[in-house]
């Protein structure tokens, strides 16, 4: 099964390398890993989707937590979250098909952000399932290129995903 872990880490050189090295040497299987800035300048936030078929999520989380620059780790898999994945998809599309494609993409709250002679770039944001759904619909038309950011997640409601660093 897939688990989603949110880790808050010190924003310093080499942290991503430490996390990647840990996953490599412990043979943990990363599905996706995103990292970016947070509300605090000293902290970055990682959202890590990990395949826990071989190693349970709490062991992965405990190993992450042992890295000195990792402040805290929350397993949000079974918590109510807002999660988002962003995809840019270059799809084969003749000029005559654009309007129809635009209306299809619209259903997924996506949009066409670039147009070329025989293709367009579609941008879509949503949970992974929704993004995956659009990708499957576009696939028969011919996906020429695609990039997905991987998932980011935040707890719903007033609860913070992680306690403030002490």
């Amino acid at each position: 099964m897939k688990h989603t872990l949110v880790a808050r880490v010190a924003d310093q050189p080499g942290v991503l390398n430490r996390v990647a090295s840990l996953f490599r040497r412990r043979a943990f299987n990363i599905e996706s890993l995103t990292v970016g800035h947070t509300e605090t300048s000293e902290l970055s936030r990682m959202t890590i989707v990990v395949d826990t078929a071989r190693v349970p999520a709490h062991i992965v989380a405990a190993n992450l937590r042992k890295l000195v620059p990792v402040m805290d780790v929350t397993d949000v898999t079974h918590m109510p979250t807002v999660d988002r994945d962003l995809a840019l998809i270059r799809v084969r599309c003749r000029p005559a098909e654009r309007a129809e494609l635009a209306s299809l993409v619209e259903i997924f709250r996506g949009r066409i952000v670039d147009v070329a002679d025989k293709s367009v770039i579609v941008e879509v944001t949503g949970d992974e399932e929704k993004v995956g759904g659009l990708v499957e619909l576009l696939r028969p038309r011919g996906i020429l290129e695609m990039v997905r950011t991987g998932k980011v997640a935040m707890l719903r409601g007033a609860a913070a995903t992680a306690p403030p660093a002490s």
Binding site: S21, L67, V68
Partner: protein, 565 residues
């Protein structure tokens, strides 16, 4: 006050209470060596940086204090790595300081440049590269705090040469800001209550005591726990010394070369109390058949060890001493007469197969050497072993009574560990009688440190158990590879002459009758002595759980076995 980075290194070490460091100079660490002469710290010049790492590790294991080793960039640093990994696997609090090329040429493949923080990333608890002298004091302070906090481990600080040469205002931070560093927490009332309930219900409890007992100084707390609960104690290799082996409830070592009755006890227990141990494959054997009848309570400082190999019923993620002091008062006094009677019965069978109770026909067997070393030293020496058959025989036949008296590489199983680690141990505890016990193979890996021993004028006694083979590998070849002795017969130098070349008195022993007299002679003499024991070549360590085999099905020493001539 303005200080160079080189001076700051020593200012920090002095403030951390460091009195001894182990190292080897070179270009990129030269400024730091130059500054060393002005500070009250003893530097031990090693003959190979691996030795420096093992010495720092041995120093830490013998004393509980942080051990420190220093090396230059490139090959100096890479030579440390075996020792760093050894310290990592056995959670030894150590700090390694390496010189690095100037920050201006980092990444250019400059002379003796290696990505040391990259190389050591997976074998350190933490590491850091210092390119700016202003960060040096804080980084070193943090290194010591990280090395000894929670589950201890090695920390490496790589210092660029220009950062050693540059000057800055020196300020030693009393406290550090490390919000991500795991601090041990006490067990919760709920955890304690659930553990207590399992203990109260148990009829066949068994404590599995590991290195955590020694690391957390929990020997007395464990004695109190055992006194209250009446639970017998089995030891891991690294747990030896954590609980006195003369105690009536001490069963001895468990695992691959543990006593058969101890492993049988694990398989028949209804409650395992795993105290500061991590269910390593060498103690569990096949996990699918491991202790199936037992509930398990795991007291372990590192949350990532809980449930890693064995599913447990209650986990106390806590420092062991804190946990036991909170837990024991909650328990009622118990005795488990029926369980202990059963264990005694099994123990009798083990005893009858023990090589000590067999005819030996005057031939010298390694178990006899270890047994006689134990009696001759009154069981009171600090024994530092290498890795292999002699290590297991030491664990079986030298009965340790006190913590930090057996120093051995468990997790990594590093041959060549003994001699340098013993030098570190002796410097940590000058008053202790320190013995190296090494095989002919491992000893040759780091025998160059005999020169260090002499240069430092240290009183370390050395027992080389020479069977002319890489014995443990030979044993596996005998058991599992049809006696095809690929690359295990080994020619050794004349160890007596070798020691003589270093100015160390030495003797060769080939008969059992000479063991104790030679050991006593060595003990009576100040300074190092080497004794080579030429033992039976093809003896094996019994009993044995084959790797991945069931703990309950050990290869036993045949009941009427004659050792192969």
């Amino acid at each position: 006050m303005q200080r160079t980075g080189a001076q700051i290194v020593w200012e920090c070490l002095v403030r951390e209470g460091v009195t001894t460091v182990f190292g080897y100079p070179g270009g990129a660490i030269l400024p730091t060596y130059d500054a060393m002469l002005d500070y009250p710290i003893r530097h031990v010049l090693v003959r190979h940086e691996q030795g420096a790492a093992h010495m720092a590790d041995g120093y830490a294991r013998a004393s509980g204090k942080v051990g420190v080793a220093i090396a230059t960039s490139g090959p100096g640093a890479t030579n440390l790595t075996t020792g760093i990994a050894t310290a990592m696997l056995d959670s030894s609090p150590t700090v390694f300081i390496t010189g690095q090329v100037s920050s201006k040429v980092l990444g250019t493949d400059a002379f003796q440049e290696t990505d040391v923080t990259g190389i050591t990333l997976p074998i350190t608890k933490h590491n850091a590269l210092v390119t700016d002298v202003r960060h040096l004091a804080r980084t070193l302070r943090e290194a010591f705090v990280i090395a000894r906090t929670g589950r201890p481990g090695p920390v490496l600080v790589d210092v660029c040469k220009d950062a050693q040469q540059a000057k800055t205002e020196f300020h030693w931070p009393e406290s550090v800001h490390l919000p991500g560093l795991l601090q041990p927490r006490p067990p919760t009332e709920d955890e304690l209550a659930r553990a207590a309930e399992l203990i109260e219900r148990a009829e066949r409890p068994l404590v599995l005591a590991g290195a955590g007992v020694i690391r957390s100084g929990a020997t007395q707390a464990l004695l109190d726990f055992v006194d209250r609960t009446g639970a017998p104690v089995a030891l891991t290799l690294l747990g030896i010394g954590g609980f006195p082996q003369s105690h009536p409830l001490c069963l001895g070592m468990m695992g691959m070369h543990g006593e058969a009755f101890v492993n049988r006890a694990i398989q028949h227990a209804d409650l395992l109390l795993a105290f500061g141990m991590r269910f390593d494959d060498r103690v569990t054997g096949n996990l699918k058949s491991y202790a199936l009848h037992a509930k398990k309570i795991h007291v372990e400082i590192d949350a990532s060890e809980v449930g890693k190999n064995v599913r447990v019923d209650v986990a106390l993620v806590s420092d062991l001493l804190t946990a036991l002091e909170a837990l024991t008062p909650k328990l009622s006094a118990r005795r488990h007469e029926a369980w202990l009677a059963e264990l005694d019965e099994w123990r009798a069978d083990t005893r009858s197969r023990d090589i000590l109770h067999r005819e030996h026909n005057g031939r010298l067997l390694a178990p006899h050497v270890l047994h006689d070393l134990w009696t001759a030293t009154g069981g009171d020496a600090v024994v530092v072993t290498d890795v292999g058959q002699h290590q297991m025989w030491e664990a079986q036949y030298y009965k340790h009574e006190r913590p930090r008296t057996l120093i051995t590489s468990g997790g990594l199983g590093t041959m060549g560990f003994a001699l340098p680690a013993a030098i570190g141990a002796k410097l940590a505890r000058p008053e202790a009688e320190v013995w190296v016990v090494a095989g002919d193979g491992g000893f040759q890996m780091t025998q160059c440190e005999l020169a260090t021993l002499q240069q430092e004028k240290l009183d370390v006694k050395i027992a080389v158990v020479n069977n002319g083979f890489l014995g443990m590998v030979r044993q596996w070849q005998e058991f599992f590879h049809d006696r095809r002795y690929a690359a295990t017969p080994m020619l050794s130098p004349d160890f007596v002459a070798l020691a003589g070349a270093y100015g160390i008195p030495a003797h060769r022993v080939t008969r059992r009758a000479d063991v104790v007299p030679r050991v006593q002679e060595a003990r009576a003499r100040a300074g190092p002595v080497l004794i080579e024991f030429q033992v039976e070549q093809e003896d094996s360590v019994y009993p044995m759980v084959p790797a991945g085999g069931d703990l309950g099905a050990m290869i036993r020493r045949p009941a009427e076995e004659e050792v192969q001539a």
